[in-house]
Subunit: 689 residues, 2 copies
């Protein structure tokens, strides 16, 4: 009886209907036991830290308080943490057994217990404690007048040790603040590896004191100083995140060769009319920074000792900036054209008994292993580095799949079988604008795998890749988030957590919560639409953006030359994103309607059709003072026209001309307008058939 | 006849109705002659640069192209500028006679001529050319299908040479990206001085290599490294902006004394019961970083040689970071309490024949003059430094006014008369949340001034001050912009450009255009409202924010202790801003209605009243799942209640109980809810009387 009373007093009323399914947790914890009580938040909410944690927990606890302040407006009294046990009486008690080491295989587990009057976090290391604090923030609820946490017991740990996000800062440079806010967001969904693609054909983005030419000639002034790199590495470390730098060699070499053409592979025929031309091919080609997107030929010369000298000096400067144990050397997409056409390199191959370009590239890569070893770094590279003589210490980064004409992620399995540690990115290419369901269902270790335990253990996890051909600081967040959160869940949570509907529901909450970290995916959509509208009302544009998605895979920026690396991305396609919300909602009501043509279900469908007709009228109005609206009108008119026909059919029961209807439908399937596609095409098709 | 035909072909149709008054230029140019033609923008739009400019024009021209790309989606072919005369055939020709020097009195004039097929910019220096490019961007028009510039001839130059913005980064630290985007915005409205308030009681924000204790003990980890400072100075230089650093001494000294208590003035009575206590007062007080807002006593000890030793070393490190000729040493709000209570300091005064604390402070300040001279810097300080023995080389920064019990800006006139150069900030305190009209009408050199020409010449200009007690990176932009643009116009344009209606109209356009620079005042309002709404629809909150303004002058944060320096500002008041748009619109329709009670005018008024009743209902709905909406309900209900009464009176012609009505009206005048006031109170009052 006493027990029941206590339950009543501890807020059972507010929490009576709270179920596990109403929690927007992501990644979903391994074990959760929700009970019927509440922990009420108040202004004197305080945190205390005990044990032997790394001081990063002080930063984490300070940020935790500020973010909770943000959400609740309670303005807690506690300010900055600088030491352990500074508030022994605090309601939140965090205990960490040991100082967490940033890197793979570290214990990131935690136990979180929320009782009605206290919150207890126990973790082996501060890394687990940081994860626990993120879970606490995700648990925040309100009853209309105040904020509370539900009483709960959670034990949690990651399924994979490598839960990464790669950002390409070469094709479009991304300033420090973009990187920082994305590190915040990564930590919020318990990702722990930031792979920094620092170099590519379009730019060299890292200061080298010994080789200033690299940034002077090959960065357009857009690069990170070493101090900024250290600052980011510390920022990541404070959030439990390992930073893995990438210097992509020997292909994707235009930037490096713009500064150091003498180590390039391309031959120049200085005297093509002379019989002696073969002896004169040693002239140095000049390179210039690539402005387009694609795969280009500039490649380092593996036969030139200067190449290794330069790389060794680069590693000597870059390695000490990154305390982590891994260094990514790229190694992808070297098509060997400049090697094939260079007689000196062909001779080198013969001399060294290298049968083909793969063996030559292995030779090249193997020279880098000791340069990195010297700095206690293991070499990592894209899957092309996995050839027969490659060191088994290397980590193989699997990226190819159906778009590249091979079985999805096949190199991952091969690598594991061949004795390599390996990380999966195929299927996590978030720059391709595919829906979240595709990424979510992509498991590095699918249930039907035939691997041995030893082989399984080599599969470290996965990594979302944000290639930046089509992103700027304005739109990059909407290309990463919220989809990367679903990948984070795939890599953290149990393999049986696969319900796409649950994911979509929770993703809405997570997407909103990402704003508190400065992620701009929602706010900047409005900025782009406001610009397109020329500062008129954006409602119709917003409605249209909710049924349109950017062209997928590699179909935007055809030929890689439509947009340059200095092009801003402020078009309608940049305001759109995968998983268009109204398209999903429409598909749901169409399915219901086709199952049961009740008036209610009919109204759900016709509501959308009417909305789109109205939207089209408004877009036409808008366009009279907004040229950037013009390119959208063909698609909007098509959607309006078919909506009108469908309304006649559904409401007036008119029979329609199927030829006309199919023609209108196919106009809705056009990929020729404004770099977007109508995401409702398939649902419309269902309605018509 | 031929002439007329040419006019027709060059776009007279599109531009036929364009008048000078439809241009959203700010600051308004000195001379403008709009003609009836157009310059059509196309993808091959290019810029060419000739003459002898500083290379900053290359950065400026690159940014110009990118911003025009942003607005038009044309994606010009031209990429990064790196040299002169790289596109001799370009439609835009920029010629600068000489390399512009960042500092006062430099020639910033320009001449801009837009013809139907070319744009010619002539400027003495690149500084003028940068201003011209901003004017070109502001001239952008469209005809519904394409973008164009009107043909025009503009000659332009600034009225004042000091057009500043101060940002206080001590009370709330503002990261690099906040500073950069505000420098962009300053340049867009032709402001040319960034005054960086780097130090105050709440924090020391600049790295000192010789004195790391300052940031280790007195910054909470929030400070700029010297590399970051240099980076910002370069960024400002590229935009024609002088950076003036401020190290505020001898008052506002808590941060410095937290690191170096031994140079503080406060005495500690180590042995208060002893007769010999007077000989023992030399014990060192400990200080700790101030967390509240207000005026505090910690003050440097002007009698201690160590004080000057430390300051000298600080200046030796800080001065070289700032190539400009001015250094602000603060000098404000030293109330002398700790000086009065320190016998050693009293003795020092006697010994040096210093009659009072003013003379003591002058003694102190005069010690700094040679320290700065050594680095070729002139000393600048807040008006308190102007005492009888102060060096005439000093620049007096006028800040006091009616809020401080003196005549508005009186120190400005006194300084000019006393032979000092001087800058006005009184009346430009944008942190006080006053309407733009107040600032706009505040002229550093009003028409009725009685100054001689020599005295007038000493009035350098003015400076908007953004004190940061109540701002974070989330809301700071909305506190600076768009109001600072009106101050920029006051300082640049002719003294007769004073029409507040024209200003308000143009400010709408300028406000929208500020987004292209990354200014977040519009987008972050939505972020705050979304958080308050708990991710529900924000329409009603937005409607309410358009009639509410944050409490003004010093009435928010009563006693300076309601919010701490680590408090986030994510409340409703932070989403509101001065010059609430619907309040202005309502006042206009009320005036019309009171002049002429036509049905049309009546509907304009009742439209608002109905909107507010509906809004109140929606806010109540919203609050059931959003505790942060609760504090707004009392005001919203008051507004709804009086709206309901007024509707009965206006539409149903019911006569109302004036006691009840006045009671409801006064409830709308409450300052006790959610840190905001209803900006429609006066208009409602007019309707009732």
């Amino acid at each position: 009886m006493k027990y029941i009373l206590i339950l009543l007093f501890t807020g059972i009323v507010a929490n009576a209907q709270l179920k596990t399914t109403s929690l927007d947790l992501m990644p979903w914890p391994q074990n959760i036991n929700l009970t019927q009580g509440t922990f009420a938040l108040s202004k004197n909410f305080k945190v205390n830290i005990t044990g032997n944690p790394n001081p990063r927990i002080f930063v984490g606890a300070t940020n935790f308080l500020r973010r909770l302040d943000n959400k609740t407006g309670l303005f807690f009294e506690q300010g900055f943490f600088i030491k352990k046990n500074e508030a022994p009486e605090a309601q939140v008690q965090i205990n960490c057994v040991k100082n967490g080491k940033i890197g793979l295989y570290e214990d990131e587990s935690y136990q979180l217990e929320i009782q009605s009057n206290k919150i207890i976090i126990n973790a082996t290391s501060d890394l687990g404690a940081l994860h626990a604090l993120e879970t606490v923030l995700q648990l925040l609820q309100n009853n209309g007048t105040s904020f509370y946490f539900p009483t709960v017991m959670i034990t949690d740990f990651p399924r994979f040790t490598w839960r990464g996000l790669m950002i390409d800062v070469a094709r479009h440079f991304q300033p420090i603040d973009v990187i920082k806010r994305n590190l915040d967001a990564m930590a919020a969904v318990k990702m722990n590896v930031f792979h920094w693609h620092l170099v590519d054909d379009q730019g060299w983005r890292i200061e080298l004191k010994k080789h200033p030419k690299l940034t002077e000639l090959a960065s357009d002034g857009n690069y990170y100083t070493q101090e900024e790199i250290k600052n980011i590495v510390k920022y990541a470390d404070d959030r439990g995140i390992l930073v893995v730098p990438e210097i992509d060699v020997p292909g994707h070499g235009t930037a490096m060769l713009t500064a150091y053409p003498e180590i390039g592979s391309k031959t120049v025929n200085l005297n093509s009319n002379s019989i002696e031309s073969k002896t004169q091919v040693s002239g140095i080609t000049s390179y210039s920074l690539e402005r387009n997107a694609g795969i280009f030929t500039p490649t380092l010369d593996p036969s030139n000792p200067k190449t290794y000298q330069l790389l060794s000096e680069i590693f000597d400067e870059v390695c000490p900036l990154f305390p982590g144990s891994y260094f990514h050397i790229g190694g992808d997409e070297n098509e060997g054209k400049d090697w094939d056409s260079n007689p000196k390199i062909q001779e080198f191959k013969k001399k060294n008994k290298l049968a083909n370009n793969h063996e030559l590239q292995t030779y090249f890569t193997m020279q880098l292993v000791p340069m990195l070893k010297k700095h206690h770094k293991e070499l990592m590279g894209w899957e092309e580095i996995m050839t027969k003589n490659m060191s088994k210490d290397a980590i193989i980064h699997s990226w190819k799949g159906v778009n590249e004409g091979v079985l999805s992620g096949s190199s991952l399995i091969n690598a594991a079988k061949n004795g390599y540690k390996t990380v999966l990115s195929n299927g996590y290419y978030i720059d391709l604008m595919q829906g979240v369901a595709d990424h979510y269902s992509n498991d590095p270790l699918p249930k039907n795998n035939m691997l041995t335990d030893a082989e399984k253990a080599r599969i470290l996890g996965g990594e979302a890749t944000m290639w930046s051909e089509l992103v700027t600081p304005l739109n990059i967040d909407s290309r990463i988030w919220p989809r990367a959160a679903a990948i984070a869940e795939r890599l953290w949570s149990d393999e049986n957590i696969t319900d796409i509907n649950s994911l979509r529901k929770r993703l809405k909450g997570i997407s909103f919560r990402l704003e508190e970290l400065g992620i701009t995916h929602i706010r900047n959509k409005e900025v782009i639409l406001r610009n397109i509208s020329n500062n008129q009302k954006t409602e119709a544009l917003n409605d249209f953006s909710n049924v349109c998605e950017p062209l997928k895979i590699y179909s935007r920026n055809s030929g890689g030359t439509e947009y340059q690396m200095y092009s801003p991305f402020t078009l309608f396609a940049d305001a759109c994103a995968p998983d268009a919300s109204d398209a999903l909602a429409f598909d749901a009501v169409v399915s219901l309607y086709l199952e049961n043509k009740s008036l209610e279900n009919q109204v759900s469908v016709t509501h959308f059709l009417k909305k789109w007709m109205d939207m089209n009228t408004k877009l036409i109005d808008l366009s009279t003072n907004a040229p950037l609206v013009q390119p959208l009108l063909p698609l909007s008119k098509s959607l309006s026209a078919i909506s009108e026909q469908l309304l006649l059919s559904i409401e007036k029961k008119q029979s329609l001309n199927s030829v006309v209807l199919n023609d209108l439908l196919e106009q809705c399937n056009s990929k020729n307008h404004a770099d977007v596609e109508l995401a409702v095409y398939n649902s419309l098709k269902k309605l018509i058939k």
